[in-house]
């Protein structure tokens, strides 16, 4: 089964390095939460938080779930599922006016 994967997968050491990176990103997230508490506008903090979450998400999917090393068909399923859900539910929240309320 391993033969199906073309590119070389990370070594345990690299896996640990990735985990350290993830931990740092999480620490930054928590710090940002307190920065916002201290009075910095959510307009700056929230987008940053979302970008950080996306980063962590991508790192886990790419390296721990090995999507980088798999056949493209798998990445396609995953993106269809993810963006499909994102689009549908954005429209739902949009019709409720929740999105305008949040950005306003």
């Amino acid at each position: 089964m391993a033969e199906a994967q073309t590119k070389a997968q990370p070594s345990p050491k690299q896996y640990v390095q990735i985990a350290v990176l993830l931990a740092i990103l999480t620490a930054v997230e928590v710090a940002l939460y307190y920065i916002e508490q201290a009075g910095v506008s959510g307009r700056i903090v929230y987008p940053t938080l979302i970008i950080l979450a996306i980063l962590k998400f991508i790192i886990v999917v790419a390296f721990y779930m090995h999507i980088r090393y798999e056949k493209g068909i798998i990445a396609r399923f995953f993106t269809v599922g993810f963006f499909g859900a994102l689009m549908l539910y954005t429209v739902v929240l949009g019709t409720f006016g929740v999105l305008t309320a949040m950005s306003g």
Partner: protein
């Protein structure tokens, strides 16, 4: 028989029965599972049909007295739910199960035990839903009475009664106090799980189990439609699962999702339901579209006109089907922008639908059409589906829909697409593949009688509903006064319904008689195009004696026919010997064949959902919680046992 005894089979022996009831309970053979799906779905079709007849008796004339209001609510809900979830969906699963491996040249589906699990979950879900007739209670809404002034319904009225879409908060704890809607929500949850599992299974099968040379664009259109349906199920079922969990929690745990008195939201339910519900209607129709895309070419003796366009249109329908859900909510107060957007999106769905229809017509154009029973049903499908599609487009015009919604015009629309579409397609498939199943032909005489009665009955039943609706007859109304002048057409409708019922009786007679005494079909009775006809009838246990090596689209046809300069088919001189050769290798496989071994666990895992379901509903009673825990333990231990079951034994040798 079996080769060297497997060393791992110490605790978990796998069952061995090949005949008798035990063989059905433990089977993992896609053909047996398909047949069980088919028969149970048909059984539910009869139940749903009887419910429809009762409804029509009530409405045959003004001021009907057959049912009271509560019973009427229960009957139409149960009718709709049965037809959608217990007939059309599982009968689709029956076709997929039986045909999918045969049409892609595989031994079985990717996960035979999971396949059995889907079936057993479906069966127990159906039993659970119908047990609400016995155990369910309605009870008055808090501070009110049942419709019509009753305080509790008769047994006929004591089954799920919130409409098939269970609008909230009407179907929530405040307005529906009894247990029937718990049966509804949990029952649908269980049925949804069955479909989700089979969706994953079918996708894996189609993508990964194709025979040599069976490229994606060589797959029969029916398989393409199976794939699209599986994806629709995959992405829409989780949504309804969440929605049903929310209702169940509202009713059992006191959550407030849909309690509009305390901040809950009724429109949220509508979004979640229709996010699932519109893809669902395509889940119901696409298998039928796939079936007629197989039958029309065979009986026109021409290849399907524009195969890639049909495939692409099917995929486009599936994709667009996710973007139009709010057309069911035009009168719910969504914003004008949303109304316009969803109206437009709905109109665009007519484009790929139209493409398909033109391709079917193009297939028949200049063809040498043979008017066999399956062909008649396919033609009926095309004609009636066009009518239903057209009335569908009229709903996409928002102001028009405000007039139509919740009237009999809508009822007419969805019966033209569902009865005229899905069910005519299904019967086309049943007549067409009956020889594959049994090795015999169905009687053409009875078949044609069935078709004409059903075609006439169908139009008498659902045609007049268009005008009744436009005259203002409200959907789901349980009676109407004589002054409204609805009486005449309603009588016609009821007569039509009984004509349909008689046609179904004829079908049943035909089926049972032909199964035993029908003409022997032999190899390839329809002179067909696709590889499931390259093997003997009925299908041998091992499907293909030799794994197929697919050279082209419509592979089987091209082994029998060449084309002359004008593109007309010319039978190859060696066609008969090819058929004989395929027959022989189908009957006597040259090499031993591995077949999946049966298993007990799918049955037990499926059965555990009964205990879980009742446990949840009655968790406040003394025995409810223990039952729930028992169900969960049974489920877990079945699944763990399953995963410990030696996989090596999944393959057993069969020598013919």
């Amino acid at each position: 028989m079996a080769s060297a005894a497997s060393p791992t089979s110490t605790i978990f022996r796998r069952p061995k029965q090949t005949s008798g009831w035990m063989s059905w309970i433990t089977t993992v053979d896609h053909k047996k599972i398909g047949i069980m799906y088919g028969y149970s779905a048909f059984f539910f079709f009869i139940l749903g049909g009887l419910e429809a007849l009762i409804l029509r008796l009530q409405l045959a004339g003004p001021d009907g007295t057959v049912l009271d209001a509560a019973e009427y609510n229960a009957m139409f809900t149960m009718h709709g739910t049965t037809m959608v979830f217990l007939f059309v969906m599982p009968v689709g699963a029956a076709f997929f199960n039986y045909l999918l491996p045969l049409m892609i040249g595989a031994r079985d589906v990717a996960f035979p035990r999971m396949n059995a699990l889907s079936f057993w979950i479906f069966i127990f879900g159906g039993i659970f839903l119908y047990s609400s007739f016995l155990f369910g209670t309605t009870g008055p809404p808090s501070g009110g009475n049942l419709p019509g002034g009753a305080t509790d319904a008769s047994w006929l009225g004591s089954t799920i009664n919130g409409g098939w879409f269970m609008y909230q908060p009407n179907a929530g704890p405040r307005f529906s106090t009894g247990t029937v809607l718990d049966y509804g929500a949990i029952g649908l949850q269980i049925l949804g799980l069955a479909s989700l599992i089979s969706a994953v299974n079918f996708i894996a099968t189609i993508l990964n189990m194709r025979a040599k040379g069976m490229k994606l664009l060589r797959m029969p259109v029916f398989i393409w439609m199976t794939l699209v349906v599986a994806f629709l199920l995959l992405f829409s079922l989780p949504i309804i699962a969440v929605a049903l969990f929310m209702v169940t929690f509202d009713r059992q745990l006191g959550t407030l999702f849909f309690d509009t008195f305390q901040g809950g939201d009724a429109i949220l339910w509508q979004h979640l339901f229709w996010l699932f519900g519109h893809p669902e209607v395509y889940i119901l129709i696409l298998p039928a579209m796939g079936i007629v895309s197989e039958t029309l070419p065979v009986f026109s003796r021409k290849p399907l006109f524009g195969y890639p366009a049909v495939v692409f249109a099917g995929a486009a329908i599936g994709f667009l089907g996710f973007g139009v859900w709010a057309h069911h909510m035009f009168s719910s107060g969504i914003t004008p922008v949303a109304q316009a957007a969803f109206g437009l999106a709905t109109m665009t769905i007519a484009v790929p639908t139209g493409i398909k229809i033109f391709n079917w017509l193009g297939t028949m154009w200049m063809g040498k059409i043979k008017f066999t029973t399956p062909m008649l049903f396919s033609l009926g499908f095309v004609a009636l589906f066009v009518i239903g599609g057209l009335s569908g487009v009229t709903h996409s015009i928002v102001p028009a829909d405000w007039q139509q919604t919740d009237t009999y015009y809508i009822v007419a629309h969805f019966h033209y697409v569902l009865f005229g579409g899905a069910i005519f397609g299904i019967f086309a498939g049943l007549y067409y593949w009956f020889p594959k199943l049994t090795g015999r032909m169905m009687s053409e005489k009875l078949g044609k009688l069935h078709f004409w009665l059903m075609f006439i009955g169908m139009n008498l039943t659902f045609g007049p509903m268009h005008w009744l609706g436009l005259q203002g007859m409200v959907r789901r109304t349980w009676k109407y006064p004589a002054e409204y002048n609805f009486g005449t057409w309603n009588m016609v409708v009821t007569v039509g319904a009984f004509i349909i019922a008689s046609s179904i009786l004829i079908f049943m007679v035909n089926w049972t008689k032909s199964k035993r005494r029908g003409v022997e079909a032999g190899m390839d009775p329809w002179d067909a195009r696709t590889i499931e006809w390259s093997i003997p009838n009925p299908t041998p246990e091992w499907n293909f004696g030799v794994s197929p090596d697919v050279q082209s689209l419509d592979d089987w046809w091209h082994r029998k026919y060449d084309e002359d300069e004008d593109g007309r088919p010319v039978r190859r001189p060696d066609a008969d010997s090819t058929i004989a050769q395929f027959h022989d290798q189908g009957v006597n496989p040259p090499a031993p064949i591995h077949l999946p071994t049966p298993s007990y666990f799918p049955f037990f895992a499926g059965a555990s959902f009964l205990a879980v379901g009742y446990g949840v509903i009655y968790h406040t009673r003394g025995w409810g919680l223990p039952l729930l825990i028992f169900g969960v333990i049974l489920l877990l231990s079945s699944l763990i046992g399953w995963s410990l079951e030696p996989l090596e034994e999944e393959h057993e040798e069969v020598h013919a």
